[in-house]
């Protein structure tokens, strides 16, 4: 067993740390948390340095590293700021992954390099108002008409929808398929296509710089060439994608936990009550020790899941354990961080409340904690 990052991974960690500490300023974080705006300039800057395309192969202008290296970057971004970190780490969500696996060469060449370079933003439109965790049936339909498809329906909770240049849309292409998920397909739709309209969802609890939106599709025409992979395989492609993004979400959770922990730790060392720094009181110091234990455990689960994935031995149970545990740890650690700050922790200017608000999403998106537990128990039922 080997429990240490290699030299190259350490260099990656150092580079992203330096970038985030200089660029993800607390002031920008507060401003965009309030304005609910995507940090476009920051995203492009990070992309030009390769931080947003870790897993995209070099031939498509990416960096050609694995999921573990990606996790290192995502974790560090979210450590420095959970909102900016989430936004920047999700800028080219899913489209490169799905195209690399199932896209044709033309689609790959057209869409992946600009996403890798940060010139464009992607959005994956799977969830619908009536279908969140359960995507086995889609109300959004794509109907063949001549040599093109006509898409109608609506999508909800779509990350990046209002700022994206390119979308993948999961549609029911065979309404009569049984089970229904065998009749779903994924289409690429570009921004500006007539009938496509995105609306910004406002007043989210956290990760406010990461823009979420609804998507309305009304007679959106998609040419045959926009179909990704094979017809009626969309559901399976979507599930595969979650295997990767879930691990990245676990990394977000670890980063948010670490960031809140470090702030609370520094605060406890300097805040004096009853004539001593509060870290001298076991009520506080034991809390901090517990936080450190939990974060390290969450990190190990996350790195292990990422490592398995990079070895080509994807283990859905390891992935789900990492996401469920890291998400819970993030909630607990950020909560305790506020507690250590006391009254100040309740104020936005002291930042830890933002970590707590942001952390909650890691228990929800890319499969709720309950869905992860379902995966875990199903696997255990089969193997034990």
């Amino acid at each position: 067993m080997h429990f240490e990052l290699n030299e190259e991974q350490k260099e990656i960690k150092r580079a992203i740390k330096e970038f985030c500490e200089k660029e993800f300023t607390p002031e920008l974080a507060l401003e965009l948390d309030e304005k609910e705006e995507f940090p476009m300039e920051l995203y492009k800057k990070a992309a030009k340095l390769g931080f947003t395309s870790m897993r995209i192969p070099q031939e498509y202008d990416g960096q050609g590293y694995g999921l573990l290296e990606d996790c290192i970057v995502v974790e560090e971004m979210c450590r420095v700021d959970p909102g900016l970190g989430a936004a920047v780490s999700l800028g080219n969500l899913m489209i490169p992954d799905v195209l690399l696996k199932h896209g044709n060469e033309e689609q790959k060449k057209k869409y992946i390099p600009p996403l890798a370079r940060g010139d464009t933003i992607s959005a994956a439109a799977f969830s619908e108002p009536e279908h969140g965790s359960d995507i086995t049936r889609m109300d959004t339909t794509a109907v063949k008409s001549g040599n093109e498809w006509v898409i109608n329906g609506s999508k909800e909770f779509i990350t990046n929808a209002p700022v994206a240049d390119i979308f993948i849309v999961l549609c029911q292409t065979d309404p009569n398929a049984t089970p229904s998920h065998r009749g779903q397909s994924i289409f690429l739709v570009e921004k500006g296509t007539p009938g496509l309209e995105a609306t910004k969802l406002k007043r989210k609890m956290g990760i406010k710089p990461c823009i979420t939106g609804s998507l309305a599709l009304s007679d959106v025409k998609a040419p045959e060439t926009s179909l990704v992979g094979e017809l009626n395989k969309g559901f399976y492609y979507a599930l595969e994608l979650f295997d990767e993004t879930r691990i990245a979400v676990a990394a977000q959770a670890v980063g948010m936990s670490q960031g809140a922990f470090e702030r609370a730790f520094q605060y406890a060392k300097t805040r004096k009550q009853f004539g001593a720094p509060i870290i001298k009181f076991q009520g506080i110091s034991f809390k901090l020790a517990d936080m450190a234990i939990k974060i390290e455990a969450a990190r190990m689960l996350t790195y292990k899941a990422a490592w398995l994935f990079d070895q080509g031995r994807l283990d859905p149970m390891a992935t789900s354990m990492a996401k469920a545990f890291a998400g819970r740890v993030a909630m607990e650690v950020t909560d305790e961080a506020i507690q250590i700050y006391g009254g100040y922790g309740y104020l936005a200017d002291y930042h830890v409340e933002r970590f707590h608000r942001c952390a909650k999403i890691t228990e929800i998106y890319e499969g709720t904690t309950e869905m992860q537990k379902l995966t875990i128990i199903n696997r255990l039922m089969k193997t034990m």
Binding site: T25, E27, L28, D349
Partner: protein, 327 residues
């Protein structure tokens, strides 16, 4: 009798303060160790300065040469090297200035003499030189022994020793220049003044000085608003100019301006000597810094150990409140 040399730095027709500061320290050392104090003046048309210097030293060694008109480390090195070989002074003092740091290290190698740079104190123990200098940006002092030698070279930090009034009536000794040919490896071309900005910080009554602690360009409006509230002007330490957040004519310190406002409010400035030298004579200094050990607190009249991002908005509010205006 052994000598102490002090190189009298001058620029654009003026002897620089550091020369008088070193002559003062040099006199003290000379008296303690029973040595002669000699000012060394190299240049073109500098006789009038020789007279001034003679009031501070036992002797003034004067060499006039058109090739010495402007500072050139190579020309100065040749001439000084000759003088040191000939006179064998126990100590040669050179300012730790932009000229000094260009000259002293290569001169020391040339003569194979030990050099101690940026000294803030000097003393002799039986002809062995002990220096005090700073490390880690002024956070610690070091007392160091200089390798035993018959002759030492030091560079002395500016504004460390207060120049005293002249008391002597020294002899001026002019000697011919040893430079026979033009220096071709290195050539002075011209002085360059950075383009003037719109604001003269030396004329302001209230200066808000900002430093590294500002952290991000996005925080500039916040401190600009505070300056506005005071009816004052923003000034800064070096890192702010390096980052391009303020033009170089706002820089306070050795490589910038020297200011003496009625009040200087230092925000996120640690207090490195390069900055402090430019503002320590302000009438009133108030410093805000997170680090209770920041050197700036040794120069400030009032100190606040806190996050400047919390103090600045509160202070702005209070100022407007006092003025009976809305922010």
């Amino acid at each position: 009798m052994k000598e102490i040399f002090v190189l009298a730095e001058h620029r654009q027709g003026q002897i620089r303060d550091i020369a008088f500061e070193m002559l003062t320290k040099g006199k003290e050392l000379a008296e303690k160790t029973n040595m002669d104090l000699t000012a060394v003046l190299l240049g073109k048309d500098v006789k009038k300065h020789a007279k001034t210097l003679s009031e501070y030293a036992k002797k003034v060694l004067l060499i006039e040469d058109a090739k010495l008109e402007n500072f050139n480390s190579e020309a100065y090195q040749k001439v000084l090297s000759n003088l040191i070989k000939e006179h064998k002074p126990l100590l040669t003092m050179i300012g730790h200035t932009s000229f000094g740091v260009d000259l002293a290290p290569s001169l020391a190698v040339d003569l194979n003499l030990p050099l101690a740079t940026d000294c803030i104190d000097l003393e002799f123990e039986n002809e062995a030189l002990i220096v005090t200098r700073q490390m880690y940006g002024g956070k610690v002092n070091v007392r160091a022994k200089v390798r035993k030698s018959k002759s030492y070279i030091v560079t002395v930090r500016q504004a460390t020793f207060a120049a005293q009034k002249p008391t002597m009536n020294g002899e001026i000794i002019e000697t011919p220049s040893p430079l026979s040919e033009e220096i071709t490896e290195k050539r002075f071309i011209e002085y360059v003044l950075p383009p003037p900005g719109g604001v003269d910080i030396t004329a302001a009554d209230v200066l808000i000085g900002i430093g590294r602690g500002i952290k991000d360009e996005n925080n500039m409006p916040m401190v600009e608003e505070l300056a506005k509230a005071f009816g004052g002007v923003l000034a800064c330490s070096r890192p702010i100019v390096d980052k391009g957040w303020l033009p170089s004519d706002r820089q306070v310190g050795t490589s910038g301006k020297t200011v003496k406002p009625k009040v200087y409010i230092a925000l996120g400035i640690s207090g490195a000597f390069q900055h402090v030298l430019g503002m320590k004579n302000s009438d009133l200094i108030i410093a805000v810094n997170k680090d209770p050990n920041a050197p700036i607190f040794s120069f400030a009249d009032y100190g606040i150990v806190d996050d400047l991002f919390k103090v600045v908005p509160a202070l702005k509010g209070k100022i407007y409140e006092l003025k009976g205006q809305k922010a």
